[in-house]
Symmetry: C2
Subunit: 202 residues, 2 copies
């Protein structure tokens, strides 16, 4: 199993370099458990799948301080057959993803709805891609059913679903979407955008 | 068939609103052939698959004027079984995507390498997701083979491939990746990031 994300931060401000560099210490609590590599387009995080979304949450909240309009984009992946197994990616818990879809939705709802609030409102947009499976639309529709009942559902749009609310429950819901859907050992990708402090009307 | 993209622009500047609004006229030549809807996270473009990447190119180049560090992100899709057929998405040409992989790579190379240069350097990062097919990794590896020979190949990274060069050939190469790979009538998604004027060393 290989799990990780290519993550980018986009602070819409002249001093974007200072904002990005100033937010990186938010990753310090995770560094021991992640491999982290940066270039001019994105930062690679490779590590346990359960830690990816908490790490991205803390990074995005840090970069969105002082009301900066800041977007995080991530290409998140697990089980890509083109990547080597890596012990650093060993799941921390046992999420029993072999369970039937209905029980996985219930488990995701239980896990996501108790998330601690952070005090930063965000809007998120995600597309889930279960790859190589015969029934990818069943998993996508099951995930959308979970998202609609998550308490932070925004709306369905073409190609994606939006979530709105406090960064705590929103990132917890995103994490469950990533961990509970698609084949347990299969290839799953997630295209994620999270926006804070947008001046645009919804 | 349904084809389109959720597109976002991220100018890293205090006057990002003015920059975004000032770039929208670049879409004028395409408006007649596209359905366009905007909210606070992204702008939906629905229309012929061959026009998507030229429209995104012109939008991104317009927003990157005056050396602004500007990123475009797009969630691009065709053939999603959850979307209705739409006459506006009828392909303009006949690309014979039923051909064997090797011939499609040759066709993509012929189409992409003659692209007109625009005078704006960009770095792009893409992940291609052929969904619901039995051999999704064959199509992904075929597409990567094309990208490596495209003349604008950057490097392979975990979960994605990067391209570098003038916006003309780079977006032409991205368009061919979207049009020529995956099952012709199947569900294909592409997660795309394009960056201009980054101050970060590669």
């Amino acid at each position: 199993m290989f799990s990780g994300a290519q993550v980018s931060l986009y602070p819409m401000a002249d001093d974007f370099v200072r904002i990005i560099l100033g937010s990186l210490s938010a990753l310090d609590p995770y560094r021991e458990r992640f491999r982290i590599e940066t270039d001019d387009i994105s930062t690679l995080l490779v590590g346990p799948p359960e830690e990816l979304f908490p790490a991205m949450r803390d990074l995005h909240v840090a970069a969105s301080r002082n009301s900066v309009h800041c977007v995080l984009h991530a290409t998140v992946s697990r089980g890509c057959p083109g990547e080597p197994d890596d012990p650093i990616c060993t799941p921390i818990g046992n999420r029993s993803t072999e369970m039937p879809l209905g029980r996985r939705i219930d488990g995701a709802l239980r896990a996501a709805t108790g998330a601690t609030r952070i005090g930063q409102d965000v809007a998120a947009q995600l597309s889930l891609y279960p790859l190589g499976a015969g029934h990818h639309m069943d998993e996508i529709y099951g995930c959308i059913d979970f998202l609609k009942r998550s308490g932070v559902f925004g709306k369905s749009k073409n190609f994606c679903t939006t979530l709105r609310g406090d960064a705590g429950p929103v990132f917890a819901t995103l994490s469950e979407a990533f961990l509970r859907f698609g084949s347990p050992e299969g290839h799953l990708a997630l295209d994620l955008t999270v926006s804070a402090n947008s001046p645009t009307a919804r």
